[in-house]
Amino acid sequence: MKNSLVIQNLTFAYAEDEPNIFQNFDFELPIQNFNLLVGPSGSGKSTIFKLIAGLYPQYRGIKRDGKILLNGQEISEVVPFERAQHVSMLFQNPTRQFAMKTTFEQIVFVLENIQYPENKIVPKVNEILETMHLNAFKDRNLQTLSGGEQQRVALAMTLALDSPIILLDEPFANIDSKSRIELLHELKILQKDHGKTIFISDHDISNYDGLVNHVYQMNVEKKKIVELSLSFLKDTLLEQHFAQNTLSSSQIFSWNHLGFKSGDRTLLNDSSLFLPQGQIGLLSGDNGIGKSTFFAALSHQKKYTGSILFKDNPSEKVRLGKWAKIVANIFQNSSDQFIRLHAHEELELSARHSLRSDYWNDNRIKKAISHLNLTDVLNHVSYQLSGGQQKKLQALAVLIMSQPIMLFDEPFAGLDIDSVKSLMDIITETTVDLELTSLIISHQRKGIDNRVNYELIMADQKIRRQKEF
């Protein structure tokens, strides 16, 4: 049977009293093609995916007009176990898509949902694990896998469902470039050799050239998506160069013989290094190598051996309450950072407790808010903001605190290039003006390379300074 997925004259809003996100929007998904959707954060990329997966308006929003047809039938009227065999989806936040404990149990769960014959379930799961090279993860607790590994499991689920249409909503937000290229390669095979339809949204358009058949862009003004020419994917390579080759010699933060483990696995062993003051460093390394754990150790959230020094004094005896005012950790998961309900309350709280309130006056805060394009969402509940808006709000809230040491863990994940640049503007300005020591973990390099002063590479249980730049 030939599949089709068609949107006819759709008008959709998040709530009764809110403006339309889509208006009189028509679209037909090119079947058996590799399709890419780009657009700034907060423009509604996730929303369109959830609409065509039949999750909205069931879970959120109001469809004011129009139809979304799966093989000619209104998708919201198709029962989930049938729908899943036609359209399946990978979510932006990989950790929250698993109901079961282990990889094996999760894929079994999916097959049971579609009433797969009982005696064929276990062989089928084993076959899928084999295809996706997930055998080593079969009985691992899903919550302990890295983001990249979790997305591979999620992709394995879509194979279990055998759905011809696979939607991927920003699936690479927290994934390193190596895993990203591998996953893209696997998706291409699925499309070419297995006739799957791929529809993927991404803020980052690198590696797609030559891979995709159609590129679409969210157009916020027109309230619909428009098709772009494939040449859009071409001239994206920016020259990589760092701002300054000389490292500042002034430093207030360093570590000696630092080491830590995750379970039995040693992640870092006997590392000694300092971070220059008033400059921005980039910390890179493969997925799961221990970069976030390193930040957790620096902020005293994780046990380590050796010593971390602030102004040449060992920090091990410093109370956590005091240390939290010296080292700030901007978490990978933005919502972990929020401690109030609304966006404006988060910023007000920071302004009230800022360590550099002389610098962060009302005017500067207001300017930063508008530079990050957050002015219109200040009255919203932080959790309801889009993934990208949450990232920007989170980073700003901590920047206003202005701890002398700032550790950013994937602050640009899911941001469009303009947002990356504006956020990087503010990070740079604050770091230089207040002589902070900033270190950033980021898989996203475009738009930040020219602002970063040095790079640290984490590999083989060591952290070394990259000299070539």
Binding site: Q58, A84, R96, M100, I121, L320, D336, Q337, M401
Partner: protein, 224 residues
């Protein structure tokens, strides 16, 4: 051998059938009998002595408290009532532990779904919640630390802390519900299942007989 163990559904029926009666029974000796039988079953299932000891010790303050309150403040037959209430705590404890200590939560839920027609939405909701427990613990630490970083202290008694945890959990559950739907989970829909367990007829009979025997002794014979 697993096959000689009781099915979780049967254990639940025994637990409810006898547990309800314990509430009304006024007999120390039948409570002791439950403790002895429960303990024997735990040992038969090779539950570690250490775990059993911890369980017994942790309930001790409760048992002592109810025993002492009857001795000190009760009227009429204070010793008898005191011992009934103290032993009742342990009777409940052992009755519960024959289910919860011998069968993993996943098997309990799947067995109840299969044999007692528990709704699958409930079963998978609870399972997902259990899988989230470790993350909630981590989340608690993260929230306290985030607050400290922003110059605010969240203490254990601070309602704001729990509000945050609830909001986070609600968000997780919302995302998870969407994910489960997209994975084909249908509320009230038919599913296949690879969960198989043994529920021979004699186990139904056993639960029925045990409940009746308990009824007979505690309400008709009524030993001390």
């Amino acid at each position: 051998m697993f096959t000689h163990r009781l099915n979780p559904a049967i254990l639940l029926i025994i637990m409810l059938g006898i547990g309800l009666q314990i509430t009304f029974a006024r007999s120390f000796l039948t409570n002791v009998a439950i403790v002895i039988i429960g303990l024997s079953y735990l040992l038969y299932c090779k539950i570690s002595i250490k775990l059993i000891s911890i369980m017994i010790l942790s309930a001790f303050p409760v048992a002592l408290g109810s025993w002492w309150s009857f001795i000190a403040f009760g009227t009429s037959d204070v010793w008898h009532v005191g011992w009934i209430y103290a032993s009742r705590v342990y009777a409940y404890l052992f009755l519960g532990s024959i289910l919860t200590l011998t069968v993993p939560i996943k098997d309990i839920l799947l067995s109840l779904e299969k044999h007692l027609k528990l709704s699958s939405t409930f079963v998978y909701g609870i399972l997902a919640a259990f899988n989230l427990v470790s993350r909630i613990k981590t989340q608690y630490k993260i929230i306290r630390y985030s607050a400290t970083m922003r110059g605010t202290e969240y203490h254990l008694w601070n309602p704001g802390l729990y509000l945050r945890i609830i909001i986070v959990a609600l968000n997780w559950s919302g995302d998870l519900a969407e994910a489960m739907t997209s994975q084909g989970f249908t509320e009230g829909g038919a599913r296949s299942s690879i969960y198989h367990d043994n529920l021979p007829f004699w186990q139904w009979l056993l639960s029925f007989v045990l409940i009746l025997i308990y009824f007979f002794f505690s309400f008709i014979v009524r030993p001390w």
